[in-house]
Symmetry: C2
């Protein structure tokens, strides 16, 4: 079926049709090459022509194809708060010897795999554009073996991490637990009394970390009336301006969230859990979340660039998805997980923090959520755990972002992308098998 659809709609739309996305209904999106921001001419010229402007007031600034420019330029449009690396010199990532690097790049590009639900093989190199990849970095045995930039991204640029931001919060919470500064079994109100009377009142820190809270929060991005949009509005600059009557900032919204089901029973992907967890981290560390991330990771991992967060008018970072960071720094984040807290020969956090994430959660609580591309998986501490042979797990963000950690293959794979549709279920078919193919290749090498 895929091949007949793809003849008329293009491969991305064909995948969307198969996996239930909505692009097919609207016609096929233009290709990665056609939608390259430089080709489109977004924000080019002094000044750019009116029809090439992307502004915070553009209703479609985060819709494809403008998305392909915006993911690298969030800070150009909005106020942001920093996660500084500090003034110490960056510690460069190690690279494979040039000849090996060239060989492996050629080999990896040629790797063939079957997309989920397809009988037609695709090469890793072909899949880069099918996935609208902006940057991809593969680290094996502590050395970079593959690195590419395209679309809006350059080595000195930063890209929206989207929901991979959540995984930074999960890791920080795990570190605080490992250091006995945070009790995962305590009610969240022990740390954030403001949540008393809300749907979070009887939830534990662990339930928030694993998103098993029974709160009411509709996060279907395709539904314009979903709670996520009201939540987003509380985080905009307009929430501080005249005429706005909703909650001002995330921390005014969160206490309004209601409970509709038992806590701890099932996984449900609800971003507000992350912002509650970041609030807890802020209270335990005594600093805003973006500064805690600087203190606990960015200033200690030899980062090359500062990261930054979109924030609400109170300066509270959007921990659920507001971080932008460089490709290589996300690689450092992945290395810290893979190597259980060590990087550059130094221990940054206790090994148990990473081990707790890698172990995953209960797949039975995950199964009802119906993620067809993640059979047998679980969600633990804001990470997606595959429970596959390689014991891989990942940070994932919409439009195709990932930090994929594969302990068996001693591999970290980071991908930034700007796939036309948001849901990873649409993007996984040409992604997850490709990562497994690289893991297989590296293990066999």
């Amino acid at each position: 079926m895929l091949s007949s659809i793809s003849k008329t709609l293009g491969v991305a739309a064909a995948i969307a049709a198969i996996t239930g996305g909505s692009v097919a209904a609207q016609g096929a999106p233009i290709s990665a090459a056609e939608s390259d921001p430089a080709v489109m001419g977004w924000m080019q010229g002094t000044p750019p022509p009116t029809d090439k402007l992307i502004t915070a007031a553009s209703p479609d600034f985060f819709a494809f194809p403008k998305l392909r420019w915006t993911v690298c330029n969030i800070r150009n449009l909005f106020g942001t708060v920093p996660t500084n690396k500090g003034l110490s010199p960056s510690i460069p990532l190690e690279y494979a010897a040039p000849a090996d690097f060239a060989d492996m790049r050629q080999d990896i590009d040629a790797l063939s795999f079957l997309p989920i639900g397809s009988e037609t093989p695709v090469s890793f190199g072909e899949a880069l554009d099918l996935n609208y990849t902006d940057g991809i970095l593969i680290i094996h045995e502590d050395k970079v073996v593959y690195e590419r930039y395209s679309g809006c991204l350059t080595e000195d640029g930063r890209h929206a991490a989207m929901s991979m931001t959540k995984s930074t919060v999960g890791l920080l919470a795990e570190i605080l637990i490992a250091e006995d500064s945070l009790d995962e079994n305590a009610p969240v109100t022990n740390y954030v009394p403001e949540l008393s009377g809300s749907g979070f009142e009887t939830a534990t820190v662990r339930q928030v970390m694993d998103m098993t809270t029974g709160i009411k929060f509709d996060e279907n991005y395709d539904n314009p009336d979903a709670d996520i949009w009201v939540y987003s509005a509380s985080g905009t600059a307009a929430a501080g301006a005249a005429g706005y009557e909703g909650p001002v900032g995330y921390m005014q919204y969160l206490p309004l969230v209601e409970q509709v089901a038992e806590h701890g029973a099932e996984f449900g992907y609800k971003t507000v859990n992350t912002d509650v967890l970041a609030w807890i981290v802020a209270r335990v560390t005594g600093m805003p979340y973006n500064e805690a991330l600087s203190e606990m990771l960015w200033s200690k991992m030899g980062a090359e660039q500062n990261a930054y967060f979109s924030s609400d008018v109170t300066g509270t970072p959007f921990a659920g998805g507001g971080m932008s960071a460089s490709l290589r720094d996300m690689g450092r984040f992945g290395l810290l997980l893979l190597n259980e807290g060590e990087i550059n020969g130094e221990r940054v956090f206790p090994a148990s923090a990473a081990q707790s994430i890698a172990a995953g959660a209960d797949p039975e609580k995950f199964e009802p959520a119906g993620y067809t591309t993640l059979p047998g998986g679980s969600y633990r501490s804001m990470f997606w755990v595959f429970h596959n042979e390689n014991e891989a797990y990942a940070a994932r963000g919409m439009h195709g972002q990932t930090v994929y950690v594969d302990p068996a293959a001693d591999m970290v794979l980071v991908r930034f992308s700007s796939f036309p549709q948001p849901k990873n279920g649409v993007i996984d078919p040409t992604s997850l098998p490709a990562y497994q193919a690289v893991a297989d290749y590296l293990m066999a090498r």
Copy 2:
């Protein structure tokens, strides 16, 4: 007179009363210690209390005392465009040997001077708080001999450079002239045809550089109806939103500026000249001004941090005053001028670019502007030239910003501050004599 006023109003207000400022009429502002952002509690807490918020929608976000937080946090409130240093390691500034550094700091703090128009001596150390200093760096014979941070500024922070931004544009234009890429005697319309039919049509590049254009542009910040506010509005995010009917972005505003007097006759401080010059630099270099600054200076001077600019909705940086940078990087900028294009043993630009600035312009064209604290001075290529014994010149920005270059004393002095009032005429009495006192001390040492 000063002493009797200062008893009732405080010294800053007394200076204001003497020099024609408006604070005296409103009562004395609170002191530097009292207005410290940490003491005031601005944006402290998770979340900060409502009465401690500073947002882009706060009508007084750039008024004292909120100003004292905002000057370090422009990027938290607004979209910005970067001037990247690139990924090469920073080249640290050299410091005087620790014992010398400690000695000189003690000596410099104790230096006594008479403020302009006063008979009461003040010490350099006392003047720091009188001037609401946020950061000060003194470099002598290529070594840092004095460095302090206070208020909102830290060594890894960045501070609004205000109109010192203009001086970066003036230097870039001088570099392009020295490299024969720009003709200072050509009409500006040779580079920016969009200015045909405007008040700039018959102006030359040099007239724009020295602000001797006879254009109509009221820049009295105390007048709420001044042109500068209309210009500022064209640069806000609101200029891209529904309901706004004015020019969208600086480059739509500039062609609307009219001519009211002969070009070349007299100096008149009009910020639009700088944005025209930055437009010229953008056309000659083929990149937005903020990127040209990265390419020509920030990536070549061993900078420690990226700088950034507030920008309009077209992504055009506010070259007239929108840059934020670190104290040490402004020191590098000053060193490049003092050492005529060389830093870290490398030539970054031709010596003639700095020499052209240092030579100054015609004081007779400057005199009618009536800057009482700058007698005999001139304005050349967006720098203020004192024509004093030491042949000093400076980048200057409102609320007390300066990069003061003193060739005779082989000294660069950078000061970031957040003085309650904008005009430097009010701040100079406790500043310029203090700088001269340091120069005298360093020359005698």
